[in-house]
Subunit: 300 residues, 2 copies
């Protein structure tokens, strides 16, 4: 399974970065291959200063060895060996009318002293963070998420949509990071569903990513915008930074377990503003966005 899934994310990284370069038309991804001293490594691809994408990363990694202390405590296990691999992406468009997107698909194994798998699971998700909200974009994104989920279980979309709203939440601001999407974790073999079936589910979601996001980019990337709207995007990106550095478990784990810092922090936006007590004009598009982020919406 680990070889099969790593092969899958390698191919998916190629597919996604090709499409992003094609749409951007100007910038190309820079590739960095890196090795983890304790075992494994990754292939980081970052695009910057594009015509459509101001900054973005589409990274894969596969790491293994002794489970770091901090993760032993988190998973409530002793000294065990592990393997983890995944694809993580964040794309920060230049035009504030185009939403930021994040996605991640990952696989984890833990071993006993003889190298037998004692536990394994998939996790992942994808979510959308608009700066100016076109309702039909949120509906389209969620519709693709739902259609992909429904092929596997009618329970998945409502469950993973809810988990996404709960996870990507800036508790200190009382607002969601965006309009959500899907979030799932600890997808393990049960009587009802084998690891093969979970693989089919996770790769279905991964395969649907471009369909979920790219039509939105194509629709919005050439819309006109003002300097004030760009400022609003940069202020909202501040909330993105706050979520990733204060609340996001993946980021904090990476920072505390000697992960490759630049690959982890590629998620941070290129230009960000913090203004004291910034409040949008009443009844503006900006005020409407904040109102919507206060409470999850059923988009489909």
């Amino acid at each position: 399974m680990k070889e099969k899934f790593y092969q899958y994310i390698q191919n998916l990284q190629d597919t996604i970065t090709s499409k992003i370069e094609e749409i951007d038309g100007v910038s190309k991804f820079r590739e960095d291959l890196w090795e983890r001293p304790e075992g494994g490594g990754g292939r980081t691809r970052v695009i910057e200063n594009g015509d459509v994408f101001e900054k973005g990363g589409v990274n894969i990694s596969g790491v293994h060895g002794a489970l770091p202390k901090a993760m032993q405590a988190y998973f409530k296990v002793g000294e065990v060996d592990f393997f983890a691999c995944g694809l993580s992406l964040v794309l920060h468009p230049k035009n504030p009318m185009v939403p930021t997107v994040h996605a991640n698909w990952r696989y984890f194994e833990m071993y006993d002293g003889d190298g037998n798998i004692v536990d394994s699971w998939f996790g992942g998700g994808q979510d959308l963070t608009p700066y100016y909200l076109f309702d039909e974009d949120a509906k389209h994104f969620h519709q693709v998420c739902k259609s992909s989920c429904d092929k596997h279980s009618a329970d998945f979309y409502p469950l993973y949509k809810k988990k996404c709203d709960e996870y990507f939440y800036n508790a200190h601001r009382g607002e969601g990071r965006g309009v959500g999407g899907l979030f799932f974790d600890y997808c393990k073999a049960t009587d009802d569903r084998s690891m093969e079936e979970w693989y089919d589910f996770v790769t279905e979601i991964g395969n649907s990513f471009l369909e979920a996001y790219i039509p939105i980019v194509e629709q919005r990337k050439d819309l006109a915008y003002t300097e004030m709207q760009k400022d609003w995007q940069e202020i909202r990106r501040g909330r993105y930074v706050e979520f990733n550095l204060v609340h996001d478990k993946g980021t904090l784990f990476g920072l505390k377990t000697n992960g490759r810092i630049e690959s982890i922090l590629m998620s941070l936006p290129p230009n960000v503003q913090w203004r004291y007590d910034h409040q949008p004009e009443p009844d503006s598009e900006e005020a409407r966005l904040l109102e919507i982020f206060k409470k999850p919406v059923d988009w489909v």
Copy 2:
């Protein structure tokens, strides 16, 4: 003691904000008075878009009531009442040749069921974060810190300088936030030193703040700088954000105990950049700065 120290920080806030406005010459502090639903409140003063200061806050607060759950766990106490007050300031200058400064002086009391003080202490410190380092600025700042400490104990400066280097450290980057200063906490009454004497020490440091920082501002604020140097300042400000959101206990406590978010996050810089794997030119002033941040320096 609590009335006396609160009176002191009220006066110090006036003194500092007057001086900052005088040097800035253009912008004035905006004042927000706020109340904490559970007891107490504060006086937040923020300056933005000045000629010298791009953004800064000089805030006081005095809060009391039942100790929040998260702090009970931190202090390893049960359900007790508390009082806490302090002045916190961060100033982000426009000119990258002028360092950012942070300072904080605070007082804490805990009570038994009858309202008797069962524990009380002072804490605080001040530290400097340059973007371009003039060694004499770091020396001047530390010299003022040392002189103020030495009036109370020859042990204080080496001890609190070291604590500062240890605390303001971006462990995930392997670099200090800046060139340090002083950091002290849990300064409690002992056989050797009464709370009155701690009060004298803490207020000595508070009184020395303008002497430590203002001559540096005056010396550097009119120096010419390039757009590239401004970019470097904004990239380094990203490290400031990383420290405050990932490592700073005060910030995280505030965010997790329903503090006044805008007063806490006034510390975040106005314009910030994150570029993927940004590396300064070898042998440049920027490279020298990074080198110096890797290991604490004895400035005096």
